[in-house]
C-alpha cells in the first residue's frame, strides 16, 4: 500500500460548545507549522451549546483550500450525527471513533476503523473536564496515526492557550495519552500520513474579519458603530481589541470612538453623523443589518455623506442560515435603498485584500462622498486563511474635496454644497463648526446650493450628476484580477471568497477538457476591463454562490447588447463553503448547453 502524503481531508464531528474548536485549531496550527498545505473550515450551528459542528481540514499539495469532494478520515465524537456521518463515508475511508459512546458502534466492514475509548481516558486525566479533554485525546490519536511532529503540536497548544501553564500541561498530557493509546492498541492500516514541507515564504493564519478590522484601523477609522450579528461581530471586536495597542495615547485616551448601538438603524445613523461631521465612520454587519440600514443608505447617497459599511454575507433570506456562507447581498448593496441609487462595493477575495480594502474604503468614501460597501462573507471572514503579511498603505489618506481653510473657501467664485465645480460630479463640502457655507443637509430634494427644491430641473440634474459621479469611479476602484492563457475562449468571472476554490475548479475543468480563463471582480460598478475580458472570450460564465446569479444580473443589464448573449450564469448555494467539483460540474453542463 502506497502512502498518501499531505493530500486528504479530515472531518471532525463534534457538538458545539464542548471545546472542540480549540482542539481543531491545534490540529490546524500544528500541520501549518510543519509546512503542510492545509486549510480549515468550521461548519458551526447557530447555537451556543449542544448542536452538531463539523470541522473540515483539507490537506492539499496543490494548495487547494475548498473542502474536498469526500472525507478520507472521519473523527466521530458526536452521537447526534453518528449514523449519517458513517453512512456518508466512501469505502476505504478511515474512522476514528469514541468507543465509549453509549449505544453507538461502527459496523461497516468496508472502512478502516480505529475505536478509541476517549471518554474513559479523559475521565482518568480530569473527571471534571472530561468533555474538553476528550477532544484533545483525538488530537493525540490523529497526531500519532498521521505522524504529526510533537514539537509543532506542543507549539500549537502553547499558542492556543496563550502560555497558561496549567491548561498547557493538561493538554500535553491528554495528547500523550492519545498517542500512547494509539501505539499500544492500534495497528496502522490506512495510507494517510503527513510530511514536513519547506514553505517558500513564511506565512501565518488569520481570519478575514480580523484583517478588515486592522485595515480599518490603518485607514484612520475614527468612529465604529455596530450592533452584534453573526458573522460580522469579530470585525468590531477585532477593532476593539487593537485599539489599546494602535489607537490609544499615553494617557489611555483613544482617538477611535466605539459605540455599540441599540440596533443596526442607529449604527447606520451614527456612521452618517460621523461622516457629516468630517470624520471617518464605519459599521460592520451582515445582510439582515443592511436590510435595516436601507433608509440611511439612501440618505447617505442623496445627501452625499461619506460612510463605510462592511457586510459579512451570511445565508439569507430573512434569518436564513445565520452561520453559513453565501454571496447573496450583491444586488442589495449595489442598489441599496428606495429610489434610483447605485453604490460602490469593494469585494475582497483574500485576507490581504480584507486589510487593503479596509483602508481603501475610507479613501473612496471621502473621495466620492457616498456610502461605500465592503462585501466579505462568512467563509472569508470567520475561517483562518494563510497570509504572508499586510502591506502598509502605499499612499497618504485621500480626504476628498473638503474645504477646511477660509482662504480656500473664499477663492471660489461661487460655492454651493452640491455645485459641480470641477465637472467630475463630485462637489466640495464644508464641515459643521467651520462657519463656512452653512447648509441644512437633507434627504429632500435640493438645488446645487443645498437649498430645498422640488423643481423638475433641480431634481433631474442632481440625479444625473449622482449617476455620473458613481460611474466615474469605476476605473479608480480595485481593478479585476485576470489569469489568462491565449488559447482559451472561455472566461470565468467570479468574486470574493470563490478565490479560494477557483484553482481547483480550474483544474477539474481542465481534466474535463475545458481550458478557461479567470477574471475576479473586486469592485462594483464594474471596471471597464471586465467588458474587455468578455469581448476576448466567446463564452463567459459568471460564477457565484447564490441562487439567482446576482452579479450576472447586474452585468447583463449593464453590458452593451452585442455581447450580452455571450454571458451565462452559474449560481449555486447550499450554505456550505463552495466545493470545487460541484461548481466545475455545473460549469461543464452550462458549456454543453451553450454549445448545443
Amino acid at each position: 500500500m502506497d502512502n498518501i502524503v499531505n493530500d486528504f481531508t479530515l472531518n471532525i464531528a463534534t457538538a458545539n460548545g464542548t471545546g472542540s474548536q480549540s482542539a481543531n485549531l491545534i490540529l490546524l496550527d500544528s500541520l501549518f507549522e510543519m509546512g503542510v498545505p492545509v486549510s480549515g473550515k468550521n461548519l458551526f450551528p447557530s447555537n451556543i451549546s449542544g448542536l452538531p459542528t463539523w470541522y473540515i481540514l483539507r490537506l492539499s499539495e496543490k494548495g487547494y483550500q475548498a473542502p474536498g469532494d469526500r472525507t478520507h478520515i472521519q473523527i466521530l465524537v458526536n452521537p447526534a450525527t453518528w449514523e449519517e456521518d458513517i453512512e456518508a463515508l466512501e469505502p476505504g475511508s478511515v474512522i476514528i471513533w469514541n468507543s465509549d459512546t453509549k449505544k453507538k458502534t461502527v459496523e461497516r466492514e468496508d472502512i478502516i476503523s480505529y475505536p478509541v475509548p476517549m471518554t474513559s481516558m479523559a475521565r482518568k486525566i480530569n473527571p471534571k473536564l472530561a468533555k474538553l479533554v476528550t477532544n484533545i485525546i483525538y488530537v493525540g490519536v490523529v497526531a500519532e496515526l498521521l505522524g504529526i511532529d510533537q514539537k509543532c503540536l506542543e507549539n500549537a497548544v502553547s499558542k492556543q492557550f496563550k502560555g497558561k501553564s496549567s491548561a498547557i500541561e493538561l493538554n500535553i498530557e491528554a495528547l500523550q495519552t492519545g498517542r500512547d493509546y494509539c501505539t499500544e492498541n492500534l495497528e496502522k492500516k490506512d495510507p494517510y500520513i503527513v510530511e514536513k514541507r519547506e514553505r517558500r515564504t513564511k506565512q501565518f493564519f488569520i481570519e478575514g474579519n480580523e484583517a478588515v478590522a486592522l485595515g480599518s484601523i490603518y485607514g484612520g477609522c475614527q468612529m465604529l458603530a455596530w450592533y452584534p450579528i453573526t458573522p460580522s461581530s469579530s470585525v468590531a471586536e477585532g477593532i476593539i481589541a487593537y485599539i489599546p495597542r494602535l489607537r490609544t495615547d499615553e494617557d489611555g485616551k483613544t482617538n477611535l470612538a466605539v459605540i455599540q448601538a441599540e440596533d443596526e438603524l442607529a449604527a447606520a445613523g451614527m456612521v452618517l453623523g460621523a461622516g457629516w461631521a468630517g470624520g471617518r465612520g464605519m459599521t460592520a454587519t451582515s445582510g439582515p443589518g443592511i436590510s435595516l440600514m436601507q433608509e440611511f443608505i439612501g440618505l447617505a447617497y442623496f445627501a452625499e455623506v461619506p460612510s463605510v459599511f462592511w457586510d459579512v454575507n451570511r445565508v439569507g433570506p430573512s434569518t436564513g442560515l445565520p452561520t453559513r456562507t453565501q454571496q447573496s447581498d450583491i444586488s442589495m448593496l449595489y442598489e441599496g435603498s428606495h429610489g434610483d441609487t447605485q453604490h460602490i462595493v469593494l469585494i475582497p477575495g483574500t485576507v490581504e485584500e480584507c486589510f487593503e480594502f479596509g483602508w481603501v474604503a475610507f479613501d473612496c468614501a471621502e473621495r466620492f462622498q457616498t456610502p461605500i460597501f465592503g462585501l466579505s462573507d462568512l467563509d472569508l471572514g470567520m475561517n483562518k486563511w494563510a497570509c504572508s503579511g499586510f502591506e502598509y498603505p502605499d499612499k497618504p489618506m485621500d480626504r476628498g474635496k473638503v474645504v477646511r481653510e477660509k482662504e480656500v473657501f473664499e477663492a471660489f467664485e461661487t460655492f454651493g454644497r452640491y455645485l459641480d465645480i470641477d465637472g467630475d460630479g463630485i462637489p466640495y463640502r464644508t464641515l459643521p463648526g467651520s462657519g463656512m457655507d452653512p447648509i441644512l443637509y437633507r434627504g429632500t430634494g435640493h438645488n446645487p446650493m443645498g437649498v430645498y427644491s422640488e423643481k423638475p430641473d433641480d431634481y433631474r440634474n442632481l440625479m444625473v450628476r449622482l449617476r455620473e459621479k458613481i460611474d466615474n469611479s469605476r476605473d479608480l476602484l480595485p481593478e479585476p484580477l485576470m489569469r489568462e492563457e491565449e488559447d482559451s475562449d472561455i472566461g470565468i468571472i467570479y468574486l470574493g471568497s470563490m478565490e479560494n476554490s477557483i484553482q481547483e475548479i480550474d483544474d477539474i475543468l481542465l481534466e474535463m477538457g475545458h481550458h478557461v480563463n479567470q477574471c475576479r471582480v473586486r469592485a462594483l460598478p464594474f471596471h471597464s476591463d471586465v467588458e474587455e475580458f468578455i469581448r476576448r472570450h466567446k463564452t463567459t460564465i459568471v460564477l457565484e454562490i447564490n441562487r439567482d446569479g446576482q452579479l450576472y444580473g447586474i452585468l447583463r443589464r449593464e453590458l452593451p447588447n452585442d455581447i450580452v448573449t455571450n454571458v451565462h450564469s452559474v449560481a449555486y448555494s447550499d450554505g456550505l463553503p463552495p466545493r470545487a467539483r460541484i461548481y466545475a460540474n455545473l460549469i461543464s453542463e452550462k458549456l454543453k448547453e451553450v454549445n448545443e
Binding site: 484612520g220 475614527q222 448601538a261 442607529a266 453623523g273 461631521a277 465612520g281 443637509y441
Partner: protein
Amino acid sequence: MSERKRERAVKLNVINQPKDSYTGGPSSLCPGCGHDQISNVIITAAWENGVEPHRIAKMSGIGCSSKTPAYYLGQSHGFNTVHGRMPSVTTGAYAINKDLLYLGVSGDGDSASIGIGQLIHAIRRNMNMVYIVENNGVYGLTKGQYSATADVGSKKRKGATNEIQPIDLCALAINLGCTFVARSFSGSRRQLTSIIRAGMSHKGFALIDVISPCVTFNNNDESMKSYGYVKDNEVTLHMADYIPHFDPMEEVEVPEGHFRDITLHDGSTIRLETISEEHDPSDSMAALTALHDAETNRKHVTGLLYFNSEKPSLDEDLDLVDTPLLDLDDSEIRPSKESLDALNAEFLS
C-alpha cells in the same frame, strides 16, 4: 433720535453679535403655529447665551418640527435626517466633534413613536445635547393622525376619539435617568427661554418637552394640547431664570420670591423660582409625583422637573482624547508603518 434708533437696532450680545446673526429663513409652517414661537425662543436663547452661531449644529428628524431648523440659526450647519433617527446621527457627529453645541428639534411622532428607541438610548448614553420635543399630539404633515402623546379623550375634527394612554416623555426620561428634564409651553416665552438657555449649558442630555399646539389639526377644546386648554390649565412648577456666568448683570431680571441656584457644567448658574415649594429638582420621585398629579388633574406641570449634574456624559464614557477627533492630523489616526511591521513580525513568529 435716529442715532438712538440705530443703537437699539445693533444691540449686541457678549460676543458682539447682533440677534440677526442667529435668525434663519422664513417659516413655511401654518400661520400661528406654536413651533414658530419655539424657533424664536431658540434664536433668543442662543443669542443671549452668547454661543458662536457657527458652533451650533442643528439636528432634526422628519415632521413639522423637524423642518424648523431652516427657520433659525442660519449660520449653523444642520442635518435634517430621517424620521425618528436624529439621535443616532447626532451621536456619530458628536463622536467626531464633541466641541459643537448639538441642538436637536423633534416632534412627538419622531420622538414618541418611530424614534422612541433612539431617544431612549441617547438618554441612556447621556449624549451631550439639547433635545427639544415640539409636542402637539398629532401628525401634522400627514394631515392629522393621532400621535402617541395624544391625550385620552381627545378628538379629531373628523373621526373617533382617542382612547389610548399617551406616553409622557418627561416621565419616561426621568425613569431612564435623563440628567435634565423640563416641560414648557410654546406660548410661555420667558420660561421657555430660560429653560432652553439652561439646557444649552447643561453637560449631558437635556430633554425639553414643549407643548406646542397644532393650530390646524389639534386645536379642539377637547384636546389637552390645544391653545385654550393649555392657557387655562397650565401649572407652573418652577420659573427658571438663567444667569450666564459671563454676565451677572442679567440677574436684575430675577423675580422676587423663593429661589435656589444650581451650578451647571460650564460654570453658569440656573436659578429656579419655586412655586411649589416642596419640589426639589434633584428628587426624581417628586418630579414623577408632580407629573402624575398633573396628569390626574388633567393639567401640565411646567418648569425644570429634574436635574442631575453628576452623571458622566458620553464623551467621558468613550474616553476620547481631548482634541475633537475632527481636528487630529491624518498621521495621528493612521498608525505608523513600524507598528504594522511589528504586528506582521509577531504574526509570523
